[in-house]
Symmetry: C3
Subunit: 160 residues, 3 copies
């Protein structure tokens, strides 16, 4: 990627990924679905299931409306221990495809329960398809978070 | 951010943040205060205190001179177990304000005590105000490290 | 770094580091040695040994051929518990030298053993010398991974 438009694109993709982390970590969570295209999908799978070809997902939302439902449910959970999550990403790789771009990056997510120390909650790989939407904004057409571990501490509440 | 000057600025801000991590992790720690403006402030607060509006800070230095005093004290601590710290940042967000720029990024800090394994020490959010100083260099006008956890392993010796 | 060629270089260096992480984490591991110059070296040392001037390395490969041997050995290990590794880097610093560039970055590596949760495996500093090779590609002339801890969980199988 050497032209100025490539730089601009990379900056836009980095900004989309940073905005996703910000909304998940700092809120408002209700704004997070707006980062997805209308027909965008979000899923969390384990590496083991992916490698075995098993379709089971830890979280699966097949449209922005489904993602909004999920977020609404999370915001109305009343039994959850208060917690903070913190998303780190590294090593962005971008390649063009027919509709937009395929993007991969490593992630590590940290969790802090009230009154407890911060622990590593999950690590893995984001495998994204990103498109330029009708309004000119970049959005996730697909975001798949592939978890290295099949074990999730406590429960998986907030999206990865 | 699409013009070349925006790119240059982003590179400069990334370099300032990388230099801060380098000086805290690799030293010399005595050079770290030079990254702050003369009237620059540094503080560490917990998310809980921030959310509750409580003013208590884990560390609070309200000028570069106060930061220098703190660093001097750290360098002369004799009772501390030898340790290494390692700062990681992710998801830089930049917006302009009247004096310069407001910058946020996620952080995760790892600690290794002599003879022990590396553990996650803290995770949280940097909330910075950065200015272009009289000599042309970017410096922190404010750096606030907001810790996700109210519990800090061992003691908080080195700045986050 | 302010000119467009500097930007291009930074992007290339970031891409080389991201590609190294990708090949170690996602494979194929057999392609990883191709990121090193023919006379390129790779070593892992502990901070303690480095600080003391002790030459002992946890892993030491003094040519691309030696790196290929090491990778071949790793791929034929049969007794290892299945595991995933995940490399995160942060805070890239680049400076020119006579042959190419000296590059430093912080790293944190996470490990997930089959049936277990993800843990922090190691953190430390990459100290690299990168050159532009005869075919125009950037490659590692030297990559030294300096581990903050002298203790490595389980065993050190995959390069850092």
């Amino acid at each position: 990627m050497t032209s100025s438009s490539d730089w601009q694109l990379r900056a836009e993709i980095e900004a989309l990924c940073a905005r996703s982390a910000e909304l998940l970590d700092e809120g408002p969570l209700a704004a997070w679905p707006s980062l997805f295209a209308e027909h965008g999908s979000y899923r969390i799978v384990t590496r083991e299931n992916l490698d075995q070809g098993w379709p089971l997902a830890l979280m699966l939302c097949e449209s922005r409306a489904a993602i909004e439902d999920r977020v609404h449910a999370i915001e109305h959970l009343s039994l959850t221990i208060p917690r903070r999550v913190r998303h780190m990403t590294s090593g962005l790789r971008i390649s063009a495809d027919a509709e937009g771009w395929r993007v991969e990056a490593n992630f590590a997510v940290f969790e802090t329960l009230a009154g407890a120390q911060t622990v590593c909650f999950a690590a893995g790989l984001y495998r994204d398809r990103i498109i330029r939407d009708a309004d000119g904004a970049l959005r996730f057409r697909e975001r798949t978070a592939i978890c290295d571990s099949a074990l999730i501490r406590n429960s998986l509440v907030v999206p990865l």
